[in-house]
Symmetry: C2
Subunit: 477 residues, 2 copies
């Protein structure tokens, strides 16, 4: 007698899967009808769900019903063309399909042998990307370096910090713990993830120096140099510098080459975080922003921000993969295998913190092939053009001012009526659900941010957004 | 004039998406026709792909063709019912659908406000799971603790280590770096990820003690106690102990309660890693394996191993969420928002290393609702029964021996002809592609491992596997 089987059959999956595909297509067709920023109160979603798990099987139809009725009110619509908050985290239909294939295959590519394709597609696609951005040869797998997919830029920065820590201690800190005071350097505008990484790596925030910035909010290399000399004089050990291509608050681009030269001279690991702006480097006219990248030890950006690839997908390159592998490699008996022992393969679990890994390069592969380099460049240029339009409208307005000239697709601006007014303006607009944007502070003042990078954004969305901001400001004044 | 647009439309997505759904259904219908372990040589997949990214757009049909022709030969089929290697990383159709919804929505739930549902579904579903496993109240969000989804058990262990480091240094190590010698304790059988975590956290491997095990490969609490006393006498600071429920090599279960009592007495953070076996705790008859869990500070397991949920999905609970949040919280201006300031919401980015996060609880929600608690228990029990059958066949054979009595679904066994023979036997079988299993070492001797946890495994698969192993051994002797 065959026992009861609770699994969904392939035939049922065909049927239910197509319902979900249609549900997603419907969602994108109607996405502008939802309030961009979820309007629910804390606890509202949780309280709508049963306190205990169901004992008996429920149907996919019931789940779809609950998605529509209970979950959707709690969604902030990151894929809406009216989403201008933070840095976007855009996706695209080809990326969703690539990720679906990955879920379907369900391989765990921790080492080469556990699915050679999961490793080799990743290696090849990251070499493609390196070439698309005219990266130095050393960052390619065919040379001394190579790329690997990490979950986020936070993790990439932490990974760089740990490898840097190992190099600085002559590969002793993994074994002995930290026995000297290492010092890391960022600017006052660097993303908070580096501070978090410095804490996790046992360096300590007190040993992180925040170098002041120039009038464009870019790190001042003269002050970096001065601080490093001071720290050396105090018996400390400078070991790591992070440069940023596109800071979160103002899209500042640190002087990549000047910092790199200091790093070389002072023997510091040089990590470049291009989380959001990195995508633009595929356009030759913007590539000059990372001139000097050949001086870097590691470089990362997030295709899951602006390159139509769904979260999570950070790409991280190193110029010298041996240092990275020596830092993260552990080979217990249960993972020994013939391919690893030949030394002919990459085992990517030695390139990062986690052991297990998903086949994430498939979505990148789908995205790059669907758009072609040409299509990717086209849309990035469009977004930058729309951002420049928006900036011009702000510049022409008598009530608003541009705070920083936008280099790419983020506009930092504010109403002239002061901090409280700007926050009130932003909250009032966000509560309408028509558009969603966020704020930061620069030089102690509130600044509004409009990030233009949504997959399906068109000129009309930017125009409507600017109208809403102007009209609301007039009413509130 | 409307400019060229390279995006896929919702209508095209409906069509292409359904092709991919069918492709996945076809795959599962034919999965047993593929060699389980990929038979390609290093470089073969990479060399089959173009050296450069395409300039022009390619079609989804071309990608599907390449999937079939170029990628599939490089896949090791983790979802095959003939996969018995490592710990399985099973998935199920409902999980694939839940993950597809997550990809489709494309929300980035770093903080509550960026999609309240992404936070609150996670909180609720992890409370469900805690209840399903009869976890102590303190681990629930309604009490002092709560659960969060991490990518892997490696990251969960690292997260616990960092929080433990902070507690042990009175929340000073994040700021000052490590200024004293902290010591962590695991057994000789604990997973290598804890060693990796100890390195990353700046503790140093030299400050990690490997406590010896008893005849069942479980940690000896008397030796743990002795080592802690010795380290204290030497002026060191014991701060962290990891107990394992189901070690990788032999499925040993450490004495959870006895270790917990030592941790309480010595004021050590007690982390329990139940990565693979944790799923079985939803069956009341196996729950006794974690008696004493109420003494733990943190507990984690991987629904992406044995609970039909696709990678990555680790669940991690703490008894005191304030300690965790105090360890990982950073609040830059650009993430400030009203909901966070009320203190009424969880911002999960403060519960882990990364900032960004995917809506991963959807797949767990789909899985638990599709199977119901009843269905999940049914299949776990089936797997354990099949493992016991296999063990009995081994025990009855005159050529093979059971190395460790299997407590749950992993059988450790070997042929009596010695180490070299066992490795040769395993490699010979794996190269046929009929089944795939792996080895480890226990007490210095090679041991073969059969892990029985594939979603679609049936009795016939286990019988065939045992026949193949026996027949091949006869031929090779």
């Amino acid at each position: 007698m065959k026992s009861k089987n609770y699994h969904m059959t392939p035939a049922q999956f065909r049927e239910e899967g197509k319902k979900i595909i249609d549900w997603i297509a419907d969602y994108y067709e109607n996405i502008e009808e939802y309030p961009v920023l979820s309007q629910v109160k804390p606890g509202e979603i949780k309280d709508s769900l049963p306190i205990s798990a169901p004992q008996k099987s429920e149907s996919i139809d019931e789940m779809i019903r609950d998605l529509n009725e209970k979950i959707m009110p709690g969604i902030t619509h990151w894929q809406s063309p009216n989403f201008f908050a933070y840095f976007n985290s855009n996706t695209s239909f080809p990326s969703i399909l690539g990720d679906l294939v990955s879920s379907g295959l369900g391989v765990q590519g921790m080492i080469w042998a556990t699915s050679p394709a999961a490793t080799e597609v990743e290696t090849r696609v990251l070499d493609w990307l390196a070439e698309m951005m005219d990266m130095p040869e050393s960052f390619k797998s065919t040379s001394t370096g190579g790329g690997v997919i990490q979950d986020t830029a936070s993790t990439a920065a932490l990974t760089a910090l740990i490898a840097a820590r190992e190099r600085a201690t002559k590969f002793q800190s993994n074994n002995k713990g930290l026995e000297e005071k290492l010092v890391a350097y960022i600017s006052t505008q660097t993303h908070s993830s580096v501070e978090k990484g410095v804490k996790i790596a046992g360096i300590g925030k007190d040993n992180l120096r925040l170098i002041d910035v120039d009038e464009n909010f870019a790190m001042r290399p003269d002050l970096l140099e001065k601080q490093i000399q001071k720290d050396k004089k105090d018996g400390l050990h400078p070991f790591f510098v992070c440069g940023t291509v596109g800071t979160t608050s103002s899209t500042a681009i640190d002087p990549i080459k000047a910092i790199g030269e200091i790093c070389k001279q002072e023997n510091c690991w040089y990590h470049i975080d291009a989380a959001s702006f990195g995508t633009a480097m595929i356009c030759p006219e913007f590539r000059h922003f990372i001139n000097g990248v050949e001086l870097a030890d590691s470089y990362s950006f997030n295709p899951h921000k602006w390159m139509f690839t769904n979260f999570d997908c950070n790409v991280f390159w190193v110029a010298n993969r041996d240092e990275l592998i020596n830092t993260f490699s552990i080979l217990p008996e249960y993972l020994r295998n013939k391919a690893t022992e030949t030394g002919e393969v990459f085992d990517y679990r030695d390139w990062h913190i986690q052991l297990g890994r998903r086949f994430r390069s498939l979505k990148l592969w789908f995205v790059i092939r669907h758009y072609g380099v040409e299509g990717l460049r086209h849309h990035i240029r469009e977004h930058i053009k729309l951002a420049q339009d928006f900036k011009n409208w702000v510049a022409e307005s008598k009530d608003f001012e541009v705070v920083v000239e936008p280099l790419l697709n983020l506009i930092s601006f504010r109403h002239i009526a002061g901090d409280d007014f700007n926050i009130r303006l932003m909250n009032t607009i966000n509560e309408t659900g028509k558009i969603y944007f966020t704020h930061t502070k620069l030089n102690g003042q509130v600044v509004l941010r409009m990030n233009i990078g949504q997959t399906h954004i068109e000129e009309k969305h930017v125009k409507v957004a600017w109208n809403i901001i102007q009209e609301t400001a007039k009413k509130l004044v």
